[in-house]
């Protein structure tokens, strides 16, 4: 049986208007994709890929130039107010009042989401227990560590029992331990509730843990599939060659072995078919390699396959 589609995005485009100094910027270009209920989907892409714009539209913070988005039964563009009731959002920047206590932040958020006061007290207690935050109930948010504050953000987002949880670079600024804890919490939440989760990230390991990954670059949706299947599209093994005169080497590989390589940063990357062995390559191009690396394709290789550049190298700009 086909899964129920909870988010339907159709031909979604957005152009930021230009100013006197800068021309209009097309941030999203006719993106279409469906997300099933209970799925965890990662939007992977560098800065400027359009993932922040897409998330701003999905959180109703931004009205798209054209296209449509349905969340459940609601048209998000036409009826953002109704769609908001289904959304829990954790932003990249903290959205808590640092001067107020954890419980006060949760109470204020619960009331904003229209939870009746009688239910709210019980709901706050239960989410504090679930997120292991009971002992921090009366602490001002500004006194919490980064990891704890993120957990409070998550508790706040989950308080109105949303159908859809949107996480915008949720672990940015966290140390590795806090990051691991955060994802552990998300996993246990997903196992208990049928929660649909959308994550925007530029971290490959975070994307690899998701059910499906949407790869975005310069406003285009380049691929949308399970991480394993995306990796299969690249091939079974990826060879990375470092050495001198890589351009000539690439041409020779194309001419003699019909291998299509890509020059990325200071390496030549290619997918090695089963018909050609590594030994054969080494014999034919003796002394031309300084370093050879053979690996299973990662999502970074998938990104290179589609865009011709590393995800991490793009991040620096």
């Amino acid at each position: 049986m086909a899964s129920q589609v909870i988010i339907g995005i159709s031909k979604l485009s957005h152009t930021y208007p230009g100013t006197r100094k800068s021309p209009p910027k097309e941030a999203l270009k006719k993106i279409s994709l469906d997300i099933n209920a209970g799925e965890m989907v990662a939007f992977l892409g560098p800065n400027g890929s359009g993932k922040s714009t897409l998330l701003s539209i999905l959180t109703t913070s931004l009205r798209p130039t054209c296209g449509s988005v349905r969340i459940g039964d609601f048209d998000l563009v036409r009826n953002p107010h109704a769609a908001r009731r289904n959304l829990g959002v954790v932003f990249q920047n903290p959205a808590l009042d640092a001067k107020m206590k954890v419980s006060e932040n949760l109470k204020a958020s619960g009331l904003l989401y229209g939870i009746p006061r009688k239910q709210l007290k019980h709901r706050i207690e239960s989410i504090l227990r679930e997120m292991d935050l009971c002992e921090w109930r009366d602490a001002a948010v500004e006194t919490l560590s980064g990891g704890l504050a993120r957990r409070v953000e998550l508790a706040k987002a989950l308080l109105p029992l949303p159908r859809l949880l949107i996480l915008d670079e949720p672990t940015s600024g966290l140390d590795p331990v806090a990051r691991q804890e955060f994802w552990g919490t998300i996993e246990s939440l997903r196992s208990r509730n049928s929660l649909t989760v959308l994550v925007s990230t530029h971290l490959l390991d975070e994307a690899e843990g998701c059910d499906r990954v949407a790869i975005l670059d310069r406003g285009n949706l380049l691929a949308f599939d399970r991480p394993g299947r995306l990796q299969c599209q690249v091939g079974s093994e990826v060879l990375s060659i470092e050495g001198d005169d890589l351009e000539n080497l690439r041409d020779e590989l194309r001419e003699f072995l019909h291998l299509e390589g890509q020059l990325v940063d200071s390496a030549l990357r290619l997918t090695l078919p089963d018909s050609i062995s590594l030994d054969e390559l080494r014999k034919r191009f003796k002394n031309r390699f300084k370093k050879l690396t053979l690996s299973h394709p990662s999502l970074d290789d998938v990104f290179v396959h589609f865009t011709g550049k590393h995800l991490s190298s793009e991040e620096q700009f």
Partner: protein, 254 residues
């Protein structure tokens, strides 16, 4: 409605948790009143023998208090946006109207608390505070406070930094107070200033508050100058409140 109450409550809780803000917001107008009131007493009395400058300046300093309370409460809008709290409110299922009213009413109640405390100094300005007069004054403080908070909100929504807000405060908000008749009687000023004061909407709030301090309630109801000033103050406050709602609806991202 919940949204209005929650956001308004938050403003008040944050204000009451910062005692320095409360002390500062009362000490500054008190010091200004004492220093300037005493300093200008002789020069002022040369023009008017009916009241001292300390007495004349008292309603003016209450207006300044309302203005500064509005400035400090709306500048937090920029902090809310920078710190990220605002984005959480903007994706919550509350109307933009609730969001604006919550912020405006929170700011106005803070102004009202400060003005109420300051009313304890009224006897030193030769003003007797009967219950009717006090209630009338509170209504006017609310009206003028809301007008200032609305104006502050519009400015805070448009500018993107606290430094920019301070610049506008210096060249727009403070002159609105200076040229409202708070510091000197308009009738004794230069002709061009007279015109500027006449076109300054804040001066009508000042006039209404000044009358309410000095005249009994019974004569206010038939005083055409007071009623006209009240009408203009009402229109001005309506304009800044509606303006705040419109600007949030037009520029949803802030």
């Amino acid at each position: 409605m919940n949204g209005v109450v929650v956001l308004c409550q938050r403003e008040l809780v944050r204000f009451l948790r910062q005692p320095t803000r409360l002390v500062g917001s009362l000490a500054q107008p008190l010091l200004f009143w004492l220093f300037m009131g005493s300093g200008f007493s002789f020069s002022f009395n040369a023009f008017s023998t009916e009241i001292t400058y300390l007495q004349y300046f008292y309603p003016g300093i209450v207006l300044m208090l309302l203005l500064f309370a509005a400035i400090f409460s709306t500048i937090t809008l920029i902090e809310d946006r920078t710190a990220g709290f605002l984005q959480g409110v903007l994706v919550a299922p509350i109307s933009r109207l609730s969001m604006v009213l919550g912020k405006l009413l929170g700011g106005t109640f803070i102004a009202l608390i400060q003005a109420c405390i300051f009313l304890f100094f009224a006897p030193f300005a030769g003003i007797e505070l009967a219950l009717g007069r006090a209630i009338n004054l509170l209504f006017l403080f609310f009206l003028v406070g809301l007008g200032f908070t609305g104006l502050g909100f519009i400015i805070a929504w448009v500018v993107d930094s606290t430094a920019g807000y301070h610049a506008i405060m210096s060249v727009v908000l403070i002159p609105l107070w200076l040229l409202s008749g708070a510091l000197f009687p308009p009738e004794d000023s230069a002709a061009w200033l007279h015109w500027v004061i006449a076109f300054n909407p804040v001066s009508y709030g000042m006039t209404a508050i000044r009358y309410a301090f000095y005249e009994p309630l019974s004569s206010l109801a038939v005083n055409p100058d007071f009623l006209f000033a009240l009408l203009i103050a009402l229109i001005w406050t309506t304009c800044t409140t509606v303006g705040s709602v419109l600007i949030v609806s037009r520029r949803p991202g802030g």
